[in-house]
């Protein structure tokens, strides 16, 4: 239901009895009274064969209820054929720009770095074949 930090959502109706630990997200599940909530990420498949896409998230105290709530939020109108529900704490997050957006030119690592169009055209020329339907690069 939210992309906010867990702490923002934990301050709901159940926060009255919550210890400060509850604001540390996934650690809240260890609380003995079982009242801790944590965020779960929901991925959904719209129809068989489609990729799983991130749908959003739900707050729940454990996997069982997280699946129930995912079903209610992302599946009750028959908009999904499959859901994956993953504890947010189990998601390894990588945003480091040094790793993802390196400063030097990396265009040679992209398929677009090699323009195939002219080579293919030349090859066709040699074999006398016409360009197939649709475009090739």
């Amino acid at each position: 239901m939210t992309d906010q930090a867990p702490a923002d959502r934990v301050l709901g109706p159940m926060a009255g009895s919550a210890s400060p630990r509850a604001s540390k997200g996934h650690e809240a599940k260890d609380r003995p009274d079982g009242g801790g909530l944590e965020p779960w990420e929901v991925f959904r498949q719209e129809k068989e064969g489609d990729p799983m896409r991130h749908g959003g998230s739900v707050m729940a105290p454990d996997a069982e209820l997280a699946v129930h709530y995912a079903r209610e939020m992302y599946g009750r109108r028959q908009e999904s054929v499959r859901l994956w529900v993953v504890r947010r704490a189990d998601v390894h997050d990588l945003t480091d720009p040094d790793l993802l957006q390196p400063p030097l030119d990396r265009s040679f690592k992209k398929p677009g770095g090699y323009v195939m169009r002219d080579k293919l055209a030349a090859a066709r020329e040699r074999t006398g074949k016409h360009k197939p339907r649709g475009s090739a690069r």
Partner: protein, 261 residues
């Protein structure tokens, strides 16, 4: 008469109407009652979940009232049957006469109802009356999730010592005398069994229900519901709480009789 139940003997048709009315009123009353959680459930996700469950029940009630209207053929449509009766004309089980109570009360009632309703639906899944068999097939698929939801919460409350468990025990004690009322014998139900509409009678259904929930109650160390106090009155003599609910759910209909919404 051109209705869908003309092949049935009049006594069987009457018994079928009573069964449908009982089922429809059960779904209607618990659906409306649980919808009171909309906006005030313990957490946002649960608010959506409970509201959606309640809406499912109203959908089941609507389908059952429609089927009933086709069988009774007295000119009333589903809405007229659902809303235009006095409170004493409703035929839901006494279990649903209890107000929704606190969250533990709602979960206890839901669990008792959903499991009993599940046993009843199972006994109709192979019904010789095709329109009911088809409808039950659809309802059962949704009720599976309802039972999962109720079981999750029952377990959670039962196993969390302190206030959650105490509130659950309190609710179960309150509901106990009416716990089995959903499966109380219906008038002339034998004719339904003879016609192959209902697999077996209420006594056997209650036995199956107790066999299903018994191990769960034992594992969670919860007291089983008592025997039905007054089986003949299991669906009559409704409570003050129901009368208040009735005033609520008929208020819009009564505000402008005959209006089209």
């Amino acid at each position: 008469m051109t209705g869908i139940a003309t092949d049935l003997l009049p006594a069987t048709r009457d018994a079928l109407s009573v069964l449908l009315l009982a089922m429809a009123d059960d779904e209607f009353v618990i659906g409306f009652s649980d919808s009171e959680w909309t906006g005030i459930a313990p957490m946002l996700e649960e608010d959506v979940a409970m509201s959606s469950l309640a809406q499912d029940e109203l959908g089941h009630a609507q389908a059952l009232y429609r089927l009933l209207a086709e069988i009774v053929e007295d000119g009333r449509d589903a809405d007229a049957i659902a809303f235009d009766r006095p409170p004493e004309g409703y035929y839901h089980a006494r279990l649903l006469d209890h107000p929704r109570g606190d969250w533990a009360g709602t979960i206890a009632r839901r669990y008792l109802y959903d499991t009993a309703d599940g046993v009843r639906l199972d006994a109709l899944a192979g019904s010789s009356f095709a329109p009911l068999r088809d409808l039950v097939g659809k309802i059962r698929r949704e009720e599976r999730y309802h039972r999962m939801h109720a079981s999750s919460w029952l377990e959670r409350l039962a196993l969390t010592t302190g206030e959650p468990r105490l509130r659950l025990l309190d609710a179960l004690a309150r509901l106990s005398p009416d716990g089995a009322s959903v499966l109380a014998p219906l008038p002339n139900e034998l004719s339904l069994v003879m016609a192959g509409i209902l697999e077996t009678g209420s006594a056997e259904l209650e036995t199956r229900w107790r066999a299903e929930i018994g191990p769960v109650f034992e594992r969670l160390d919860l007291p089983m519901p008592a025997a039905i106090a007054e089986p003949a009155a299991a669906r009559t003599g409704h409570s003050e709480a129901f009368r208040r609910l009735w005033t609520d759910f008929t208020s819009v209909r009564h505000a402008e009789p005959g209006a089209t919404w």
